[in-house]
């Protein structure tokens, strides 16, 4: 399995822990980097990743939409507009099922859109699937 990091952009502490737990339950052992607002996430991706003595780019970005400071949509826009990060799969992970949010996410280049189920058993299954697909089944670009 791809041993690169997963970047989780999420502000709710309970959600961060539940997602961490779901990843563990799914035996996804990639280490997790958590950024709690959009500005932090962008700073991490554009200033800390890709430098020789710093972090590599993540293999996968799990992105919430409702975020403080800079919202998820803006993060998505910047990630997909920058040559360094545009090929990193971004999975929108949110509670919103508003049609506009779904369409705008795809228009901006989101690779998948998942509405977090309230039923935690189903949430774990969803995380399991997406980990399996994006880290194992899907062939990533090697040039980022």
């Amino acid at each position: 399995m791809n041993k690169k990091k997963i970047l989780l952009v999420e502000d709710n502490p309970s959600d961060i822990e539940l997602t961490t737990r779901a990843l563990e339950k799914s035996k996804i052992s990639n280490s997790l980097v958590v950024k709690e607002d959009g500005a932090e996430a962008l700073k991490y991706l554009f200033e800390e990743c890709g430098k020789a003595d710093y972090d590599d780019y993540p293999a996968l970005i799990l992105l919430d939409l409702k975020l403080p400071v800079v919202d998820g949509m803006e993060v998505l826009k910047q990630v997909k507009a920058d040559d360094r990060t545009k090929r990193i799969p971004v999975v929108v992970l949110t509670t919103s099922s508003e049609e506009d949010d779904i369409d705008n996410s795809y228009d901006l280049g989101a690779n998948a859109y998942i509405r977090k189920p309230v039923d935690n058993d189903r949430f774990i299954v969803a995380i399991n699937y997406l980990g399996l697909f994006w880290l194992l089944v899907n062939e990533p670009s090697y040039r980022y």
Binding site: K116, V118, N120
Partner: protein
């Protein structure tokens, strides 16, 4: 002197009446605008509430699930049962919120009217029900060629709920019968759906079309009481009416009329 009075008085009266009418019209417009604004605000509120409530609910279910799974060995049986109750109630609240969201979506949708064959739409709904419940034996009679000028998406939801209800409440009948047809009432084409199911006491049905109103116990007939609220909202949005005739154990007939010139 007399001459001038007969000339001026009626004129003045006419002017006053016109002024009054204009004033009333202005007030009426103002009120409609305010009402529209209030409705919009309420819908926006319902929408944001249903989104924002989802997050803590996920937390409640998430941590209950984590507790019962990660501490399976140390939890007593009773504790596990309590935890499953918490999760069950959480899911119920989630269902209610989803229903609220659905209702607000119905109200926000911009109507796109077209000529719809509701007889064949009803056939499709019945087909779906038969596929889902192959064990049920229900006689369904649909009058052919019924059409309305309405929003297809919304009419499908309304019909699905009306037929779904008739289907559900005839569950305990040996010979379940559902009839969909039309009749004339006050010179207007009125559609109806009649079943020979459980029916209910009309005296308790004041709020039948309100959200989350139920006429039966959950263990008799499941449901959260959102179907008829959606039906009514859809029919009202089409400038129509919906009403019911029913008696306990004698089935129910729901009538609805849709007006195309709204």
């Amino acid at each position: 002197m007399l001459k001038s009075i007969t000339l001026h008085k009626p004129k003045k009266a006419v002017v006053t009446i016109i002024d009054r009418i204009e004033e009333l019209e202005r007030k009426n417009n103002e009120l409609s605008l305010q009402l529209e604004q209030a409705n919009k605000e309420m819908e926006a509120f319902a929408y944001s509430v249903s989104h924002d409530l989802r997050s803590p609910l996920r937390g409640i279910d998430g941590w209950s699930q984590a507790l019962s799974e990660d501490f399976e060995d140390s939890l007593e049986e009773k504790a596990k049962i309590y935890l499953s109750r918490i999760r069950y109630e959480t899911m119920r609240m989630h269902e209610l919120i989803e229903a609220l969201l659905k209702l607000s979506r119905l109200s926000r949708r911009v109507l796109e009217r077209e000529r719809i064959d509701i007889s064949s739409m009803a056939e499709f709904v019945v087909e779906r029900l038969r596929e889902h419940n192959p064990q049920r034996r229900v006689i369904v009679v649909i009058e052919p060629g019924l059409t309305v000028f309405a929003d297809r998406f919304l009419m499908d939801i309304a019909l699905s709920n009306l037929i779904g209800n008739a289907w559900k409440f005839t569950e305990k009948k040996e010979l379940a019968q559902i009839e969909i047809g039309s009749t004339f009432y006050d010179n207007e084409r009125v559609f109806y759906i009649r079943d020979n199911g459980a029916g209910f006491n009309l005296a308790y049905a004041k709020k039948l079309f309100g959200a989350f109103q139920r006429m039966h116990k959950p263990n008799e007939y499941p449901g959260i009481g959102i179907g008829l609220a959606m039906v009514q909202r859809i029919i009202l949005r089409h400038g129509g009416n919906v009403w019911v005739e029913t008696e306990v154990d004698k089935g129910a007939t729901f009538y609805w009329v849709i007006r195309s010139n709204v």
